[in-house]
Point group: C2
Chain length 391, copies 2
Amino acid sequence: MPTACVFSKARTDMTFAVTPQSLNFDQPLQLKGGGVLSAYQLHYETYGRLNAKRDNAVLICHALNASHHVAGYHEGQPKSTGWWDNMVGPGKPVDTDRFFVIGVNNPGSCFGSTGPMHTNPQTQQVYGADFPVVTVEDWVTAQARLLDALGIEQLAAVMGGSLGGMQALSWSLQYPERIRHAVVIASAPNLNAENIAFNEVARRAITTDPDFHGGDFYAHGVVPKRGLRIARMLGHITYLSDDVMNTKFGRALQHGDAFKYSTQDIEFQIESYLRYQGDKFSEYFDANTYLLITRALDYFDPASAHQGNLTAALAAATAKFLLVSFTTDWRFAPSRSREMVQALVANQRDVSYAEIDAPHGHDAFLLDDPRYLKVVKSYFDGIQTSAAEAA
Amino acid sequence: MPTACVFSKARTDMTFAVTPQSLNFDQPLQLKGGGVLSAYQLHYETYGRLNAKRDNAVLICHALNASHHVAGYHEGQPKSTGWWDNMVGPGKPVDTDRFFVIGVNNPGSCFGSTGPMHTNPQTQQVYGADFPVVTVEDWVTAQARLLDALGIEQLAAVMGGSLGGMQALSWSLQYPERIRHAVVIASAPNLNAENIAFNEVARRAITTDPDFHGGDFYAHGVVPKRGLRIARMLGHITYLSDDVMNTKFGRALQHGDAFKYSTQDIEFQIESYLRYQGDKFSEYFDANTYLLITRALDYFDPASAHQGNLTAALAAATAKFLLVSFTTDWRFAPSRSREMVQALVANQRDVSYAEIDAPHGHDAFLLDDPRYLKVVKSYFDGIQTSAAEAA
């Protein structure tokens, strides 16, 4: 068997080992909501090599339930594949043979960067409910500081899906001169009332769990798992399309082919699936982080400073854009992406837009639809870097 | 002012007084799920007069959060207007000047008929979690026995929206000879995976509330209000369309025009609205009833006894049908009504179908869309009774 073939297989199926890194920041981060992080740590990972001109860096922004661990696996943990490993890696759409890719965990999250479970250096107490409200704009500022530390003046591209797409959009407005391309996938220029409503139900499930203790549950040695489970079950429904739920689960029963006739036991496979997802999530996700990140989603609305005029808001963007949406995504529907496309076109910006007819709902942005991956690959293939194809 | 005008105004705006009635049934009700109600009481109301030939009776079936109190108001309670008062009354689409209309509270509900908060006559204990699982078919059986007691052999029509529509459909299959017309509004021939998933999240919110006590909370003197609130908030989102939520609430703030930047306080009006709905609901609705009724929704699936073939399932129906759906109803989408229409047409049944382009989502079936009310009125105007127009 030719070596090249084995190598190619190893790269795409088995991916590569990666080691998380961290950096401490002592310059206070003044937050949009009025709070301040006096000192903080960011966890991040990088893939590929920064070229000599430092113009091949790509920043990947994560959504609610993800982290800096975008691609590859952690040594000794073969199942620890990154959340966008199908998108980022050698020979993949965001090709780490060409690009230097950075994943960073946002402050307030629960995967290593400073968050509500950490100690507030000013009080020496665990933050808990006192962790300051963070916004998409704050995350972008923190990410920019990480780039400063890494010696990267300008990104070839910033990319994200869902809430990550909001960060990519915000980059184009906060630091237009520091990005050449913005890739905004399955996202929206703000949440609509229904999005906010679902977030609020999830938050209320968490905050009314007696184990939440107003957000200071760490001190009580408990976790508001009941609330986290409900939040995740609900979130999961909104990530999937009606179609894919019917195809994958339909009305299939969990036990044999007859009902048990019980109000509390599992009857349908979809119930078992959701309970499993909720249980798993409640084992590792932080309740305060859930509140913080859903609030960051709620607050994001660049048009609000322009009387709701998105075209006026996006006039500040100078990057070239790729936007992608998925037809069955009812959380961030294609119409929301089209709003952004239209506002960018009205500003005579360079915009590519793909609306993928995929059955998987919002989750599609994480999946392996070949048309989707091809669109992203083609776009990144067209991004100029000084050492293209020869990193 | 002419008397007729005053009378007309009084009838439509101020509606009429009505007194609930009840009947005890000693013949055990054997339930589809294997349980039995050895004795039970049904609360019901009637409007209009039964004619001499007893052929002008219309049964109205209620959905999750409604009752026998369909129309009119209760003496001394001017705000106690029935849930379908815009549909049923003198001169209204279901005209009580022509029809004798019956509303009945289903067993397992919490508005007077025997339910989980009542005493099991066999054990002298409150039913609580031991209340047997009830199905749409069981409710129809109980309703048929009420008609027996009222001396009504055949209904001019049976009518319901949502879960009530499922009961109307089930009537056409269980007692085809006892109904001439079935009016099935904003309904479905079964729940899909997403519907079941939302029900399951609501149920888990209730059953994991520490105050639920496995369903026996009555004995503990508490009510699982946290769970009920979450269930209702979530349900409410699914009753409304995306459109109407954006029109009614959008991103409007609750306090002034600036964010408070808080993860736990209310920021948006939609949050306040949902919390209010949840609070109100948790004050009066029974937690076990919520489980029982959502399970009845889950279980209903007349096609399941015919290998999923709805056409085969509906072959038993001989009634004439009116079906109505609403374009923005994503809980029971028009496609679900069309499935029923197609199955009935395939059986060469007499079917009228209206798809109303209304913005209000599932809730539209309770609202005053003039086209909708006109469709129902026209249909009922065409229903023959022996004493038409002269009750």
